[in-house]
Amino acid sequence: MGDATQAVKGRPPQDSGPQIGAFERFVQLTELDTRMLAMVGALVVIWIVFTALTDGIFLTPRNLYNLTVQSTVVGIMATGMVLVIVARHIDLSVGSILGFSGMVLAVFQVEILPLGVWWNWPLTVVMALAVGAAIGAWQGYWIAYRGVPAFVVTLAGLLIFRGCAWIVTEGRTVAPMDPTFQVFGGGIQGSIGAVWSWVTGVLAIAFVVFNAFTSRAKRHRYGFPVKPMWAELGIILVATAIIVGFVMVMNAYTLPRSDIPRGIPVPVLILMIVVVFMMFISRATKFGRYVFAMGGNPEAAELSGIDVRKTTLMVFVLMGVLCAIGAVITTARLNAGANSMGLLAELSVIAAAVIGGTSLAGGVGTVAGAILGAVVMQSLENGMVLLGVSSAMRQVIIGLVLIAAVWFDTAYNRHRR
């Protein structure tokens, strides 16, 4: 800590060099992503400020439970938007896809299929997912095989599928949904209870530990450098603390007029599954590698023999399916199919991805970052609602935050070069 004491003595600023060096060495040893750390830092600051301004209401289990449930739909869609943007495209139609596939789901569940049969809601969920996939394939076809820019195709999609959603019921709201189906919304019955929450938490911790040590063993076998044991254990410890803390908070929020803990909400469970799946896709499969290669250098991807068009089509199919998953959660939460579902969602989703470090120039972005971006956005929204900020003012502030986030990203990248 000799460097720190020197800095305190009022030496010229360039003497703080070694201090930064020490931090960089730490980051290198632990293989942490500095950008990600900065975002976590920003999130912590936001939470502290809102907690102070709301006299602690922000950090109550009840509010944190609501915050996580509110973040799920945008979070799920943002994981797909990361891949879309990484591949140098954009999808402006995600809100409309959500709306249309949600309306199809609701109409079939409530008005067309027989009520009360066990296969009603599973079938409608499958139908919604199929609608999402089909819309994704339709848009992907125009983009990949007909060369129409994604901006145009999905802008058209925004209009087309919003219109389709209205046409399904001539604008009527369809309700109520199947009681079992409502579990997906994370309402009163929509969480898994204390015991299963702990089971999930323990499984998650086991997964983290298993992953860390298998990859370490593998690198050892090849004789590659591995990070020091203290760093490995430290990261496992932090991850464990976050998981345990999360389960405790979710269990601390009880069902109304009782002491029964709610536990992890079902939509959050779905989000967790989606995140693990999307991380796997983007990091461990050929498909994910190709998406990033296309974003980094489309010509190189083509010359490497990658089927760029098929990969592009698949990205949009994936995006469509994720929108449909968002539709399942939204209809279950609303307990209805309504025309306003997913309105302006494309903006929150794109903003979450961008705040999470996805570069609009393509080639750069992470699923974890997008989730963090979604939580940052929802924290701002939620905190301002608690403070009684008007919806108009909230829009202004979130818009400004978006600019600030991208500006920070640009400045950060320039600094690194």
Binding site: S215, K218, R219, Y222, F224, F280, R283, A284, T285, K286, R289, Y290, F292, A293, G295, G296, N297, E299, A300, A301, E302, L303, S304, G305, I306, G363, V364
Partner: protein, 258 residues
């Protein structure tokens, strides 16, 4: 039985709209031979080579490999025939690391069908060590690497998969003298291993000493092919600039080499 050339491109044509970029060009290449493909910018040399590497489809003409007629419709097809290309732009995905680029499109997989990043890193280290012993930090994005390192990645990608035919498009254009020498050594080494190499360049000095023969293109036409032992640099220069064949040499238009 006479040995057929490793590669024969016969009477290749390519038009882009109204531009006749390649007009009935024929070139060939034998195992362990280096053929320089020379010409000004726009002479058609890069287009000709992109036809061989599967990046561009020809309008007419045929390609034979070891005497057998083949259809090369995509980079995949070319790779299947043992043709590897080092593009002038290097064709690297800047956001991926060296192993990601080396195995792009041909990833090593674990038994579960997922990417085997550690195995790819291991193989990359081996092949890169051979090319450039000082280049050890292969895990960062190639965007942050020096010109020589990026070139090493592109070359490693071409030689790792046991190429029989190598196309190098202006391989030393972006390199310093030391790295240029390194590429020259590599060409000699690959040649000794029996690999046939097309060296594309607009600068005769880059290729004259390395090449066994030179094929000169001008305005999409083949001016002629000459053995480097039988012509001077000035004569080749006249071919490039004026499209004029040296008067005293009969040349060997296509018939046998040796």
């Amino acid at each position: 039985m006479s040995t057929a050339p490793l590669v024969e491109m016969r009477d290749i044509h390519k038009r882009f709209g109204g531009v006749h970029a390649v007009r009935g060009v024929s070139v060939d290449l034998h195992p362990g031979e280096v053929v320089g493909v020379l010409g000004h910018n726009g002479a058609g040399k890069s287009v000709l080579m992109k036809i061989l590497s599967g990046a561009i489809a020809p309008d007419a003409g045929e390609i034979r490999i070891n005497g057998e007629k083949v259809e090369i419709e995509s980079p995949r097809d070319a790779q299947r025939h043992g043709i590897e290309t080092i593009y002038q732009t290097l064709a690297l995905a800047d956001n991926l690391d060296a192993p990601g680029n080396l195995f792009l499109g041909r990833e090593l997989l674990t038994r579960w069908g997922t990417l085997d990043d550690d195995a790819m890193e291991n193989e990359t280290r081996k092949v890169v060590r051979r090319l450039n012993p000082n280049f050890t930090n292969i895990k960062g994005a190639v965007r942050n690497m020096s010109g020589g390192q990026r070139q090493s990645v592109a070359i490693a990608r071409a030689i790792y998969f046991n190429a029989r035919i190598l196309i190098m498009d202006e391989p030393t254009a972006a390199l310093g003298p030391h790295e240029t020498r390194m590429v020259g050594e590599l060409v000699k080494q690959l040649k000794a291993e029996g690999i046939g190499i097309f060296l594309i360049s607009h600068d005769i000095h880059d290729v004259f000493d390395l090449a066994d023969r030179v094929s000169v293109l001008k305005n999409g036409n083949l001016v002629g092919t000459r053995r480097t032992t039988e012509v001077t640099k000035d004569q080749v220069l006249a071919m490039i600039i004026l499209g004029k064949l040296p008067e005293d040499s009969a040349g060997e238009e296509m018939p046998g080499f040796h």
